[in-house]
Amino acid sequence: MNRKQIVLAARKAAARDARARRDARFSRAMGVFKRAGLLHDNTGIEPLRGPVALSDVLWAGRYEPRFFELLPAVLVKKPSLVHLDRAVPADLRRVLTALRKNEMPPDFRGVPGDDLLRWVPHVGHRNKTPTRSKTFRLRQQDLKLLEELAQKLDATETGVVRAGLRALHQDMK
């Protein structure tokens, strides 16, 4: 294709994109993401109170891929922003599983995995990443010790384990 042909073909495609940006589904998704401070734009779409339907966000993402970049982090950290009006697609489910485990997710609809992962601490509660459950088998005396420490420190048992890990780490330095 020469330059002229590229411009002509782009005009057609851009007209389709422009039509999509005027669609109510796009406005709803943009409005809600805008109000939540996740996206900024210069198209004048009014900020909207959430939630927005998942199908609207998935549709809008075809015309503004930044929705795809933010959607997984939103579903993990601020799920109240998106109403699940349909089943979560399999590719998105795989990404969510990885994000919940704090692991590198696979690429999602053209957005690289590390771009998806980096939004997790910045959506919802800042600098927080999802917690993960891990099972340990403890002896009776360990359990008793854990309970005692939790009572003494006025903390949860998880808090005691976290504090203990940090203290041990500090000790090893």
């Binding site: 782009a10 900024h40 210069n42 004048g44 009014e46 891929p65 970049e69 053209g110």
Partner: protein, 216 residues
Amino acid sequence: MVRRKGDETAERVLVTSGGAHYEEASGAESHTEFVQRSGSNMYLQISGFLVDEIYTRYVLRAVAKQLDRWFIKQAEQALAAHLPAPKPCRIRLLGQMALLETGSSLSLANTKDVDVRADYEYSAQKEFERLLQRKGLMLDPVGHEAWMPRETRYLPVFQGRYVTLLAADQDAVLISKAWKAPVKNAPLIREYLSQGASDRFFELAEKYDVDLEQFV
């Protein structure tokens, strides 16, 4: 409540239709810039003196101005304590924020991260980060690593006593985006191409081996 432009107490400003034109935003205290719009009528919300559109479009100018004030204060304190004055800095905006700040006519949507290359000291960086955070933005910690073509021109956006804010030119930003993340930026590149992209853009695309056919 909707009032017309020029009303100092206006909560909203009406920007009329009819081609690309400029309307001054009333009441935008530290924003004497203009809003450029084309297409249909639209209302711009003013919240606390900031028009939403101006807020997103020119927010970095306001931040640079605040940073400059912080520098002046630091310089005064340094003078009083017989210490050397702070070193002036130059902040180069990259990415979508550069497009927003230079008033690009493209439909832009960007996440809250700001990519810059700057020569400021650590304390100034921290203050810059704090000011951005107050505007709901964040400094991308690896933003300075973003690839930009060697031919990038930096346009002056704000010049203070200590802070100079520059924005990368549109062609360079779009080439960088097309090269770095073509899928994510496809609609943006398409829109630019449809507006009859500049010869320079095509030349840069050729030089950096960016396949423009993938966008159409």
